[in-house]
């Protein structure tokens, strides 16, 4: 019996302490298939032996929810997310300021003057097409956002769900400006989002880039980099820049308040802005904030954008939460667009 008790206690102790294999740095929302975090993490581990965690709390909103919940006992050191969510995080008090070394080299509209968030890259939200599947169905490639509402493409397109994904929430926010709406009246944008679903398309709670490559979603709305990297891997996919214009999702990072390993986190966050990391981002077809880091051979790889619609990050951050509510009411629950927007004060006057 004494042997049994000793054995149990030893086993429990070993289970709790456990063998430590690689040094890990807990970071939220580093999806391996988005902006090639798999490649970035591999490069960082090769350089320093520290491995930031991949695929933990994927989704900008999910990461913010996790940080909020863990505010009393923080587990994550940092997070990657779209900058409108980063602004929300600053307002929620879950991030702390960090003066990253290359802060001044980041464009002014992609950084917070108080150092709570900063951009690391941007990606235009475009239409992705699986050329094989569309050819088999005898359909021409769509050329505009309006094309997606055409019945001949019924049910073929997938976007990510704006209540889950930062990219999709920027898409939800920016469609209004792209289609001619004003900052006080989101009816134009929301009518499009509702018509998108009414034409049989879906809003998915998963990263859609693999679905495009597989053909499950022959048309997607996604960051251009995710599509181009699949194309570089041999998938029959391509980017279509819609004629009405595109907006870019601003992607960045934040330093968690009360981070368990602040020095390691600061090292990692500074590394993401280094030439090495920014080049990896460029090679993954995302536009790095440090434009000088784009290698010469990649300068033609990015799609030509005829009309770039800017995203007002503070306005987006202030309203994206309410817009998600209106989106759920008007689009996902089949309610009335005007009514849903009036409730949040964005139906114009």
């Amino acid at each position: 019996m004494k042997n049994f008790l000793t054995a149990t206690c030893t086993a429990l102790t070993l289970a709790i302490t456990g063998p430590v294999v690689a040094e890990e740095l807990t970071v939220y929302d580093l999806p391996s298939k988005y902006m090639n975090w798999a490649g970035l993490v591999e490069a960082y581990e090769a350089k320093t032996g520290i491995r930031p965690t991949l695929d933990l709390k994927n989704g900008s909103s999910t990461a913010l929810a996790a940080l909020k919940l863990e505010a009393a006992n923080p587990i994550a050191n940092a997070a990657f997310w779209s900058l409108d969510i980063a602004s929300e995080a600053k307002a929620s008090g879950v991030t702390a300021p960090l003066k990253v070394a290359r802060f001044d080299e980041i464009p002014a509209d992609l950084r917070d003057p108080e150092h709570y968030w900063w951009g690391v890259g941007t990606a235009n939200i475009v239409i992705g097409v699986n050329t094989d599947v569309l050819e088999r169905r005898g359909l021409p490639l769509p050329t505009s956002w309006a094309d997606l509402l055409d019945p001949k493409y019924k049910g073929l397109a997938c976007s990510m769900d704006p209540t889950w994904s930062g990219t999709a929430s920027v898409f939800m926010y920016s469609m209004n400006a792209i289609l001619g709406g004003t900052p006080d009246d989101f009816t134009t944008g929301f009518n499009f989002l509702k018509a998108f679903q009414d034409n049989g398309h879906s809003y998915r709670t998963e990263i859609v880039a693999p679905r495009l490559a597989q053909g499950e979603c022959p048309i997607t709305i996604d960051a251009e980099g995710n599509i181009l990297i699949e194309r570089a891997n041999g998938a029959p996919v391509d980017v279509v820049v819609p004629s009405e214009g595109v907006a870019a999702v601003p992607l960045g990072m934040g330093f968690a308040k009360g981070a368990p390993e602040p020095e390691k986190a600061a090292d990692f966050l500074n590394w993401v802005l280094s030439d090495e990391a920014q080049e990896i981002i460029a090679r993954s077809y995302f536009r790095p904030v440090i434009a000088s880091a784009i290698p010469a051979e990649m300068s033609d790889a990015f799609p030509e954008i005829a009309r770039q619609v800017p995203v007002d990050i503070p306005h987006a951050a202030a309203n994206v939460g309410n817009l998600k509510r209106a989106f759920t009411a008007a689009v996902l629950q089949g309610g009335d667009v005007k009514a849903a927007l009036s409730e949040i004060g964005l139906a114009g006057s």
Binding site: M1, F4, L5, T8, G59, S61, T62, L64, A65, K68, L69, S92, V133, G155, L156, D161, T163, W164, S202, R204, T205, E206, Q214, G215, E216, C217, P218, G321, K324, R325, T328, A329, Q333
Partner: protein, 278 residues
């Protein structure tokens, strides 16, 4: 031996306290805390006042009731084969048990692979018939139903199989000697004997379905599944109060309905053979 019992009991109580009692208490606390931090019933009032949440709950309950009944009825032949040790019983039992290894999201993925836009069924149909009626079937109520049935049927079957194994094989045999044919024997003899087990299997399937969230996240479009709505409140809107209140509501409704089902369908008296007949 005694020390072993003590250690095990403490370990189990510890797991129960840390893994269930404490988190549950925290959720209840969050649901009773207002925005200012003071205790209040406002969150519950808000949830009950929301037509959307209440409708989602009603739809989910209806959907789960329907699928659990269908699953239990459909599981009977499978359970019979396993319980009576018929041909392939062991293989079928293993197949049913493998079911436990899959999480809900896996079922969603399997449905997409089978009946999605580029699913096996759609590709087969396009190749054989050139039509595309089955395209995207996974995202309909039918597809969601299939996803739910695929984890409910094996579990109901295993519960029923155990009861069938314990059933006196002499009773159906006696019924047959008295001239009863297949369906008559099944409905007049076997089902009444198995009634407690059938109710247990149905209730268990119902509770499982009510908690299920993985398939809903990936494929639910026309049916609003309550656990998925809770998830959206939680991660999409960061409305922890709402999510906590809805979670407690789900818990109460599921357990209450389970209890009502057991009572309404009645505690069946076991079928006694007439031993005092002369």
């Amino acid at each position: 031996m005694r020390a072993f019992m003590i250690v095990t009991t403490i370990a189990l109580l510890g797991i129960f306290a840390l893994g269930l009692a404490y988190p549950l208490a925290t959720v209840i606390l969050v649901s009773l805390t207002g925005e200012s931090g003071a205790p209040t019933l406002d969150v519950y009032r808000r949830v009950f006042a929301s037509g959307y949440f209440m409708q989602a709950l009603a739809e989910t309950v209806m959907f789960c009731l329907v699928t659990s009944f269908i699953a239990t009825a459909w599981a009977l032949p499978l359970a019979w084969r396993i319980g009576r040790n018929g041909a392939g019983a062991h293989f079928l039992q293993t197949l049913s048990q493998i079911n436990f290894a899959f999480a809900g999201i896996i079922y969603g993925m399997l449905m997409i692979v089978l009946m999605g836009n580029a699913g096996v069924l759609a590709l087969l149909e396009a190749w054989l018939l050139g039509t595309e009626a089955t395209r995207g079937l996974a995202f309909t109520a039918f597809g969601l139903g299939v996803a739910y049935l695929s984890f409910q049927i094996p579990r109901s079957a295993l519960i029923l199989a155990e009861a069938i194994a314990k059933m006196d094989p002499g009773l159906p045999a006696a019924a047959r000697t008295l001239g009863g044919r297949g369906p008559a024997v099944t409905f007049l003899v076997v089902v009444p004997i198995l009634r407690p087990a059938l109710i247990e299997a149905a209730v268990f399937s119902f509770l499982l379905a009510m908690a299920s969230f993985g398939p809903a996240l990936l494929i639910a479009r026309s049916v609003t599944i309550f656990p998925a709505v809770i998830y959206r409140e939680f991660t999409g809107f960061l409305n922890f109060g709402n999510a906590a209140a809805m979670a407690i509501l789900l818990l109460i409704v599921a357990l209450a309905l389970a209890g009502v089902l057991r009572l309404l369908v009645g505690r069946a008296t076991p079928f006694h053979t007439q031993t005092d007949a002369t």
